[in-house]
């Protein structure tokens, strides 16, 4: 069973109670139908109250939920004939990023995504979804290929950040990300990016520059982790909740800021409650995006992307 988050405990407790009552009625003569009905109504209201009014911090918890679906969960459900390709041809293979080709509704596409693990063993293999430079370089190699063979690029963003390690620095983490940003600017095929979990700063952006950028309702996208921001600003990582609120890292907030295009809804209680349904919600938005972008010439694809990013920012003149 999925680990329970503190804020959803009332829901889970009530569900347990209903289950107990139902079990009890089955084995007894007493009719509790009305009571159960009342409780079920209460449950619906409670779910509405809690899941319908998630605070930024609750969404952070959702985005970090150990059972939250990963890139490969969606690849399996949204695409056909996925073939993964490996390696950056320069240093090595980075399993924190998966990349390959597949069919999306009979159209060949290139898929690139951060890949977390769901248990310790897999997380070690995937380096907790935190890429080294070779991950970004592999991604770029595949993006260039997508351009050559005229395939749209779909990226799934789900990382705490680019890996902050010694080897990553030695091999040019900064350069790897910077180069991706620069090269993605010029790609003549459509790029659609979907933030499915945590969008951690430059490590997310390194595969996250697109014509369209969408976010799942309970995913987050942030310039620094709430804990990191709190430690720097208020010298107290315990102020993470306050930082999460101040930095506007949720999908609805970022939509309002004009940084993302669509907020993709999640099933009640979060993506991990119903992965098939979540995939279907993504499917709707993805299909619409690709259809729109298909209408554009390759020059217009590049131009549209430039115009989109050129506008982002808020400043004043004195």
């Amino acid at each position: 069973m999925a680990p329970i988050m503190e804020f959803e405990k009332p829901i889970v407790n009530l569900k347990e109670k209903i289950k107990e009552l139902k079990a009890f009625t089955e084995n007894s003569e007493i009719d509790l139908k009305d009571e159960i009905k009342t409780l079920e109504e209460r449950l619906a209201k409670l779910e509405e109250d809690i899941y319908g009014n998630l605070k930024p911090w609750n969404r952070v918890q959702m985005a970090r939920h150990p059972d939250r679906p990963t890139t490969l969960d969606y690849v399996e459900r949204l695409f056909e004939d996925f073939i993964e390709f490996h390696g950056d041809r320069l240093f090595g293979e980075d399993e924190a990023i998966v990349s390959g080709i597949a069919y999306y509704k009979n159209q060949p596409v290139t898929i690139i995504g951060h890949q977390r693990g769901k248990d310790t063993k897999e997380n070690i293999k995937r380096n907790f979804g935190m890429p080294h430079p070779e991950g970004y370089r592999k991604a770029l190699r595949h993006m260039k290929q997508a351009e050559k063979f005229n395939r749209p690029i779909i990226t799934f963003i789900d990382t705490k950040g680019a890996y902050p390690g010694k080897a990553a620095e030695e091999r040019g983490q900064s350069e790897a990300i910077a180069k991706n940003l620069m090269e993605m600017a010029g790609l003549t095929v459509p790029i659609v990016c979907i933030v499915i979990g945590e969008g951690g700063s430059g490590g997310a952006l390194g595969i996250g520059v697109g014509n369209h950028v969408h976010m799942l309702e309970n995913s987050t996208y942030s310039v620094i982790s709430p804990e990191g921001a709190a430690a720097i600003l208020w010298k107290d990582a315990g102020e993470a909740q306050r930082a999460a609120e101040s930095m506007r890292i949720t999908a609805p907030d970022l939509k309002k800021l004009g940084v993302i295009d669509e907020v993709i809804p999640e099933p009640k209680g979060g993506a991990h409650r119903d992965i098939d349904k979540q995939a279907a919600f993504i499917d709707q938005v993805l299909e619409k995006s690709l259809k729109e972008l298909k209408e554009l010439s390759s020059e217009d694809i590049v131009e549209e992307r430039w115009q989109k990013y050129k506008k982002i920012g808020s400043f004043q003149t004195v």
């Binding site: 430039w306 003149t317 004195v318």
Partner: protein, 284 residues
């Protein structure tokens, strides 16, 4: 309490330097090197462009001192001088911080952009100043740099940037992060137009700035000893649980690891840039 804290030596008293101790060097007349602590006449260190005459340490320069040190006299013309940060997220205390740094530095933002002549070569220019919010990049900086690069493209002149930044500006949230994309897009357009871009990384160049325009010049240079890297040293040490060598993430370290083209001493900067600019102009 973790066990290691129990055994570790703990400082019982914090030492707060008295106001008198803080100005142990007479203001204006003498200056102490931040690195070797040698005391000099201020005149002397100003003349050496804030490079310590004893140990060669390159002290951070203000944007305007840098500009004076590089451009042929009277040729520099500033662009977008009045552009400054807004507070798009209504982030607590952000406006006060900006106001304070504007007063402190006389700048409206942590970057000065414009055009000027270096050894007879007309260039577009951006120089960051770490005295303003640690040179952190928010929307105003992204916009100024993007405009400068675009202007250079239209004028078909080289673009030179001196970076000095702790990274993205947290108080503008994701808008800051997106400046990395915005500026890198501008660099792409510029480089594709056949023009020359030179990036000179000065102390410090980290985070979102090192992971965007700072690292994608046609040439990437650095000043001696400059801290250059993506992640902060402390975070890396916590992640890998080992102490990092002293020279980790210095300009020299980056040179050794193939990440930059050249380390250039501040005293040689103008001449070297002039030479490179001329060689590229002559080839066109």
């Amino acid at each position: 309490m973790p066990l290691k804290d129990f055994f570790g030596k703990r400082k019982k008293y914090a030492s707060i330097p008295s106001e008198k101790a803080k100005v142990d060097v007479p203001e204006g007349l003498m200056q102490k090197c931040d690195n070797c602590k040698q005391i000099y006449y201020r005149k002397e260190i100003v003349k050496s462009l804030y490079v310590c005459p004893n140990c060669g340490y390159h002290h951070p320069m203000t944007a305007w001192t840098r500009i004076e040190s590089l451009f042929d006299e009277g040729t520099f013309q500033e662009w977008d001088a009045g552009l400054t940060s807004a507070n798009p997220l209504n982030f607590p205390d952000y406006e006060e911080k900006i106001k304070k740094d504007r007063q402190k530095t006389g700048l409206n933002e942590a970057v000065v952009t414009g055009t000027g002549v270096i050894e007879n070569n007309q260039v577009a220019f951006a120089v960051m100043d770490s005295h303003f919010r640690m040179g952190s990049m928010g929307s105003a900086i992204g916009e100024k740099i993007t405009r400068a690069i675009e202007e250079a493209r239209k004028e078909s002149i080289p673009f030179i940037i001196f970076t000095a930044s702790g990274g993205a500006r947290m108080q503008e949230g994701l808008l800051s992060l997106m400046q990395m994309a915005k500026t890198s897009f501008a660099v792409k357009r510029f480089r594709d137009s056949g023009n020359l871009m030179i990036s000179v990384m000065t102390h410090p160049t980290t985070g979102g700035v090192s992971a965007s325009f700072a690292s994608i010049g046609d040439y990437n240079f650095a000043e001696p000893g400059a801290l250059i890297g993506f992640a902060g040293r402390r975070i890396i040490e916590q992640t890998i649980r080992e102490k990092l060598p002293n020279d980790f993430q210095t300009a020299e370290f980056q040179l050794e690891h193939g990440q930059i083209d050249k380390v250039i001493h501040r005293h040689d900067m103008k001449k070297m840039l002039g030479k490179i600019l001329s060689m590229h102009a002559d080839g066109r």
